[in-house]
Amino acid sequence: MSTLSILMSAFVLSIVGLGFFIWSQRARLTDSGPEASEIIFAKGEIGHPEKAIDRTTPQAVSPRPDEAELLARVRADASSAQVVFFFYCCAFVWLLVASAAGLTASIKLHSPDWLTSEAWLSFGRIRTLHLNAVAYGWAPMAGLGTALFIIPRLLKTELAGARYALLGGALWNAALVAGLGSLAYGVSDGMEWLEIPWQIDILFVAGGALVGLPLILTLLRRTVAHLYVSVWYMGCALFWFPILFFVANFPGLHHGVEAATMNWWFGHNVLGLFYTPLALASIYYFLPKLIGRPIQSYNLSLLGFWGLAFFYGQVGGHHLIGGPVPGWLVTLSIVQSMMMILPVAAFTVNQHLTLKGHLSALRGSPTLQFICLGGLMYTASSVQGSFEALRSMNAVTHFTHYTVAHAHLGLYGFVSMVFFGAIYFVVPRITGREWPWPKLVTVHFWLAATGIAIYFVSLTIGGWLQGTAMLDPSRGFMESVHATLPYLRGRSVGGALMVLGHVIFAVHFIGLLAGASGRAVQPSPALNAATGDI
């Protein structure tokens, strides 16, 4: 049998298998009882967008929530508040560290003589510090913190073993400090996304396992029969990441071309099977929550989840197009990259159906603005990524700033935006304090949105020009470098706006902790009317 026919039959069989599997989930072939997937609405839930609530007298006018539901939610929050707070504090620190490193690296690309006195400030190291502070600091701390908050609520169970998560979080952060220190010192494993030396990675594995443990314990003690879609995503992210991280960092397992293949298997999967599900789970939770309307299609949720789970694991190979890896592997990864459009479309349509007719809720809630923009950017960056995997497009964009713009659309425009929104929602519930200066939330939103827009547009244009210049044999290499200069400056401007937004975000958080608003037992009408923050 030829390679082609093996590949073709594997593809067709797997697609048919996936379709049957999703259908069987829906047809309850794998359920033990008929009630298991029955949908139960809480009382007074439908048709009451949060915006409609008159905040001057919230108790009187709001639809009286089911008291049992409220009590379960309050118990869940009380059990997770401490550990979520710890994770969020770490997230803030790493966000600032990563922002500073990222902006420094960006400026160095057009002003190479800036800050050259120290080796650790050189581009090669500061860029790596930026990537690792985002990849193992900000994104997982914010994402895991949000997961630890949402999962007990959705399982209507108190978080079991929160102490393990606290210890795990401490170990994880100790590992990250050690890892960034060694990178700054110049000790690295030499593979992108896997730079931190494997000796330190042992700490990450131990810390990650300790964070995952309470979530498993809580799942085992759950009091709900039906698992809401957010739980699938978060549970799987916590299951996938340790496997990815352990296999990718295990020393002496992969060499040469295999190591490169594994490198991008990890590099792409950590985005799609760790950050993406954590952020998607947050959207699936906060979007319906904030507009007071259920997610419209359980069927689309199934398609979106299993599609992501099935297709994503194979897309990493598109980073190696034209490389010394087998052609069938790259071809399969290109096809699966395009197939990713399906789960993305399922997610998008589902959110659209849920939001339809309730857009006015956006005006009142900054959390919802962050979440909705994040959701839109998920669709945009995923579809862009699918087309970027095609050989014709990849020939131009590979090895250019275009890819960098795409990566930031995903990890900033989508993931970080969603986590910003989540943090704005969660912090008042775990601290019992209101955000003191609501206008700053709006400022943060517009700085972040404008910043990423400038960033993305400049680098996309610059990267494309760079790619076409590099493909033209009649133009020298330096021409492709000079072509990008104005766009790199544009990127620094966008990046600076984003950093400013983060500083405001952090200052606001400190203001909240310092008790600038005090403990608002009866929230002031002016405050809530201004933000609609809930």
Binding site: P58, Y285, P428
Partner: protein, 197 residues
């Protein structure tokens, strides 16, 4: 068990979300079919008839590289830089006691046929160059360099760093090649080379 205090933030929010069972829109199903059809089409047009070890999208002609066309002039300087300079150094001075110099070397400036023979088959044994003795370990290039290339690099070496000996033609190298056609190992040192015609 004592109930924790209910915060106003918790009281004012909506209940936790649930799901409805709206069917999958037919447009999404159509998209699924279109994408699957694309996948089948893309795979069926993929060029997968080359061995997997060649790499993605590589053809034989790409991997074979650019062999100089017949009649094209070989670049002696380039061959020297890529093949010889690692030991004999770009200055042609070698490394004292380890790699003999080429500048002013009696072997380089002497009989062109002997120099060509050294390049073709290499040396493994003692050799004296400019009065200093070396333990020769010169590799053979009969298999990797053609007659024109050996002629070009020898011509280059014989004209650099103060050397001023006559150029070599590819025909001379070809002659030496046939002369030593039966040879399987390197020359055993300076004594054997001196005995060459």
């Amino acid at each position: 068990m004592s109930s924790p205090e209910i915060l106003p933030q918790q009281r004012r929010e909506n209940p936790d979300p649930q799901e409805r069972t709206t069917p999958i829109p037919w447009l999404v199903l159509a998209l699924a079919i279109i994408l699957a059809a694309f996948g089948v089409d893309y795979i069926s047009h993929a060029k997968l008839d080359t061995p997997a070890s060649w790499g993605d999208g590589r053809s034989h002609s790409e991997l074979a590289g650019n062999k100089p066309a017949d009649g094209a002039k070989a670049d002696g300087a380039a061959i020297f830089a890529s093949t010889c300079a690692a030991c004999h150094q770009a200055t042609g001075q070698g490394l004292p006691g380890v790699f003999p110099p080429l500048a002013g070397s009696e072997w380089v400036l002497g009989k062109p046929t002997t120099a060509a023979a050294i390049l073709l088959h290499g040396i493994n044994g003692p050799i004296t160059v400019k009065g200093q003795s070396y333990q020769g370990a010169m590799p053979a290039f009969a298999a990797s360099l053609g007659d024109a290339e050996i002629a070009a690099v020898l011509t280059y070496v014989r004209s650099q760093w103060g050397n001023a000996a006559a150029p070599l033609s590819a025909a001379t190298v070809a002659e030496v090649r046939t002369q030593h056609a039966g040879r399987t190992g390197p020359f055993s040192g300076g004594d054997e080379l001196k005995a060459l015609p």
